[in-house]
């Protein structure tokens, strides 16, 4: 049993793909690519895929993650190419590693988001971000299944910076870019909630809906605010102990290097 972790995107118009839509598309891609999937037991067996922390429908993403279980070993790079070719363009598989550590989901501690605010002056966005960060607490409301729910959008935000979009815009309209780092907490604080917070704290009201993209997910370094690649530990472990599927390079060091200890895919 081999486990492979994949990073994929939701780009362009396919950012409107919901998570359920993606799941169906991905399972079909697995079939087209003839991936030797492990299946759950029961009357309606499902391929074993674990999804982590999907971005909301309508937001783009460069950093979505999932893990699949295979019954036969495959080279992660080849598998990535195959799956990428089997998915519609925009749902792109951009990284693959063999799982050699546990707890991918636990490593997805925070997200980096880019919010593109068309029609908003960068200076105005900067002022609003400063006001938001200065507040102890910013109460916002969101409609949920059980009606409107109020919660704080401030505490989860670890960084929020405004800048100007590149100046080559043909129509000459203002456009501010916000870079947002949010810790994954419960209840989740989404980019929308931060936008609501900016409206509440500083009256920022973009004339058109913001274009939101997740740029990264991973471990958050509280000191520097950096979010690091969650697949790096698996990659490091692989360098130390190459998988049999990756080639005949001899398994050299196998002990003491893998920090998580468990989770070897080489059965």
């Amino acid at each position: 049993m081999q486990r492979i972790r994949l990073r994929y995107t939701k780009r362009g118009r396919l950012r409107f793909t919901s998570h359920r839509d993606f799941q169906r598309a991905f399972e079909r891609a697995l079939r087209r690519a003839e991936v030797p999937m492990a299946y759950s037991a029961g009357f309606t067996p499902h391929p074993k895929v674990s999804y982590a922390n999907a971005a909301p429908t309508g937001t783009g993403s460069e950093a979505e993650y999932l893990e699949i279980q295979l019954t036969q070993e495959r080279d992660p790079a080849t598998l990535r190419e195959l799956l990428d070719a089997s998915l519609p363009s925009g749902l792109d598989v951009i990284d693959a590693v063999e799982a050699r550590t546990s707890g991918l989901a636990d490593r997805l501690q925070a997200s980096v988001w880019e919010l593109r605010l068309d029609g908003v002056e960068p200076a105005e966005a900067e002022r609003a971000a400063a006001a938001f960060l200065a507040a102890e607490e910013v109460q916002v409301e969101r409609r949920t299944k059980n009606g409107m729910r109020a919660f704080d959008a401030r505490a989860a935000v670890s960084a929020l910076e405004a800048s100007a979009a590149e100046a080559d815009r043909p129509d000459g309209r203002a456009c501010a870019i916000l870079r947002l780092v949010v810790r994954h907490v419960t209840p989740a604080v989404r980019p929308d909630d931060v936008l609501s917070g900016l409206r509440a704290a500083a009256d920022l009201a973009p004339p058109v809906p913001a274009a939101v993209t997740r740029l990264a997910q991973g471990l958050l370094d509280e000191e520097t605010g950096a979010v690091t690649d969650p697949l790096a530990p698996d990659r490091d472990a692989a360098t130390a102990a190459p998988s049999t599927a990756a080639g005949p390079r001899a398994a050299t060091v196998t002990s003491g290097v893998n920090p998580a200890g468990a989770g070897h895919g080489t059965a």
């Binding site: 396919l14 919901s18 359920r20 839509d21 399972e27 067996p45």
Partner: protein, 642 residues
């Protein structure tokens, strides 16, 4: 000149609507061609929501057939839900294709496939959103041709004012012929404008152009005649028939949607046409003769289609799938081939026959045996003779007995209410049948948790069937009859709780009846309903009976007719029917004889295994039924690469 994509403007609206994914395109196996590389450009519409329209085989086939041609492009468009429609109107975003988001008004043709008449108001929405005049007479050379196809196009008269042309029958070859005519006309620099193009299409005898026909009426409201108003236009327009399905193995690359749709499977049409002769069934009448796809052709399509899509289910489609001459070998062959791959097989539209249980068992070799569906259609032996559905209660009980004995737990039975000559007694017998089914099931399985669901639809008489002259039962009478049946079932202490009962009220059937057998005067009703907000009439949450009746009450009295005149009135032999000039190949005298046979409760055999009964199709179209068995085997198993 390239046409600008409306996507940037649409994109700004998408965060505010339900399920935006349905509007973005980008499906696996979809095609976007360069605008300037093509000289004939089609937009193809299924006039319902994306979730219903995308899986439609007709549109998918034509999309692929056209796009395979050099210099031709085809893109798809579907009805937008009212939330997006409102935003598009507010922001001036036109009806668009989902492939390249080009405005529908920029194409040469808007081809609309009508499986049901309830899509008519959605056509008007699309036209208005496109900025195309709703009435054909107001269009200019700058507007696309509005072309209707699909089963409802066998009587396009209610929407004649809104159409430029209609095609009856199979579309594969027809769209290519039309493409050639448009190309030639464009290459000659559009001589004679739009009228000349329509005339060239009409002259073929295969494309109906309503404006070249005048309808004359009698004082009592009936039609006196329909007459060409231009020399060179044929009196009757004939249907298209593709004879060799193996030459048309489409769709080869079925579209795989991202959004959830009503059917997500690899569908293969295993034959076209049906000669069972059920008298209520328009599909069976207008798609004759029977043309089978060969067992090897089916095997190849399934194999390639699954590879191209990654679907987990294969549907073997036709009007009565178990009637394929080699269905046993097809089912067994596919079940063998995909035994390891967790591919499900489904066989919709099967008749009541113990042989079908063997088939069903084959198709569910590994899976769970939950429910089986049969359609006896009529509750009494007598009414089944009227409709020529040759199933005896004995057949049904034997069939369900086998089913329950093989581990199936639930049987679903379809019936119709409001059939010609039907009485309360005929319908009440549906309850007896359900009770007998349950009793048999309990006996055979030795268990009490056996269920039988009875599902009932209101009968709507359709053009080109023996029942085209029949009076439709009013909504009130339909509802009253079904209420009696419901009370009877609920009152049964011993079996009532094991019987599920599903039916809808009779009102939508009356509107469908008005549109099915309507003439050009009904167009005014459709327009008034549309202007009054009518949309998505096939959806219960949008359909408004009152809106239709109010619109009809406003517009029809000017013509001296009303809704009842179109629906519950029986027609006589002499009456000119609005669709008589559209030739489905069926001999009208044969249809009348069959109608008389129905009234006499006389059955007619299937011509596949009994002599020809002269329905007229084969000699009229100079064709013959095309059936096997071929004696060949399904594609050899592709074990080599595994």
């Amino acid at each position: 000149m390239p046409v600008e994509s409306v996507f940037p403007r649409l994109e700004a609206l998408l965060p505010h609507v339900q399920k935006p994914i349905q509007y973005v395109g980008g499906e696996l196996n979809s095609t976007v061609k360069e605008w300037d590389d093509c000289d004939v450009r089609w937009s193809l519409m299924y006039p319902d929501a994306y979730e219903v329209g995308l899986p439609n085989q007709g549109v998918m086939i034509l999309y692929e057939v056209l796009n395979e041609r050099e210099g031709v492009l085809a893109e798809r468009t579907y009805s937008v839900w009212p939330d997006l429609e409102a935003l598009m109107r507010e922001h001036g975003v036109p009806q668009f294709t989902v492939d390249a988001h080009r405005p529908v008004s920029a194409f040469d043709v808007l081809g609309v496939s009508f499986s049901t008449e309830l899509g008519y108001t959605n056509l008007l929405t699309a036209l208005e959103l496109s900025g195309i005049p709703i009435e054909a007479k107001d269009r200019t050379e700058d507007h696309p041709l509005i072309l209707a196809g699909g089963h409802a196009a066998f009587n396009p008269e209610p929407i004649a004012d809104f159409l430029d042309c209609a095609v009856v029958g199979d579309g594969e070859q027809a769209v290519l012929e039309i493409t050639d005519i448009i190309r030639a006309w464009k290459n000659e620099d559009r001589p004679g404008g739009r009228d000349e193009l329509l005339f060239r299409l009409a002259k073929t005898g295969n494309v109906y152009v309503p404006k070249f026909y005048d309808v004359e009426y009698l004082a009592d409201g009936r039609i006196s005649r329909v007459v060409p108003n231009r020399s060179g236009v044929p009196w009757r327009v004939s249907k298209h028939t593709v004879m060799d399905l193996d030459e048309w193995p489409y769709p080869k690359q079925p579209l795989v949607p991202l959004a959830e749709t009503v059917h997500e499977r690899m569908s293969v049409e295993i034959f076209r046409g049906c000669t069972r002769g059920c008298r209520f069934c328009q599909a069976g009448m207008i798609t004759r003769p029977v043309r089978e796809r060969s067992i090897t052709g089916i095997g190849e399509m399934v194999d390639k289609g699954l590879k191209a899509t990654g679907f987990e289910e294969v549907g073997l489609l036709s009007l009565s799938s178990a009637d394929h001459t080699e269905i046993g070998d097809v089912a067994k062959g596919l079940a063998d081939r995909y035994e390891e791959d967790k591919i499900g097989l489904s066989l919709p539209s099967t008749r009541v026959d113990a042989f079908n249980i063997d088939l069903a068992n084959e198709l569910t070799r590994n899976g769970r045996r939950s429910g089986l569906t049969f359609a006896p259609e009529g509750g009494s032996e007598r009414i089944r003779k009227v409709i020529n559905k040759m199933v005896s209660e004995e057949d049904l009980i034997r069939t369900v007995s086998t089913a329950y004995g093989n581990g199936w737990r639930q049987v679903k039975l379809y019936f119709m209410c409001g059939l010609p000559t039907e009485t309360d007694e005929d319908v009440l017998q549906i309850g007896d049948m359900a009770v007998n089914v349950i009793a048999e099931g309990r006996k055979v399985s030795g268990q009490n948790d056996i269920r039988c669901t009875v599902s009932i639809g209101g009968f709507v008489p359709k053009p080109h069937t023996p029942f085209q002259w029949a009076p439709q039962l009013s909504a009130e009478e339909t509802d009253a009859r079904l209420a009696k049946l419901r009370d009877k079932i609920r009152g049964d202490k011993k079996y009532g709780r094991s019987i599920g009962f599903r039916y809808h009220d009779g009102k939508p059937g009356i509107v469908e009846g008005l549109l099915s057998r309507g003439d050009r005067r009904v167009g005014s009703v459709i327009r008034a309903v549309y202007e009054g907000g009518g949309r998505f009439d096939g959806w219960r949450e949008y359909f408004s009976y009152d809106r239709w009746m109010e619109a009809a009450g406003k517009t029809l009295p000017d013509f001296g007719v009303d809704v009842a005149w179109y629906t519950t009135r029986e027609r006589t032999y002499e009456e000119v029917l609005p669709w008589d000039h559209l030739d489905s190949g069926l001999d009208k005298d044969w249809l009348w004889e069959d109608w008389q046979d129905a009234l006499d409760e006389t059955e007619v055999e299937d011509c596949r295994w009994s002599p020809c009964f002269d329905c007229g199709v084969c000699p009229q179209l100079d064709l013959d039924i095309q059936i096997g068995p071929t004696g060949k085997k399904l594609l050899p198993l592709s074990v080599v690469n595994k």
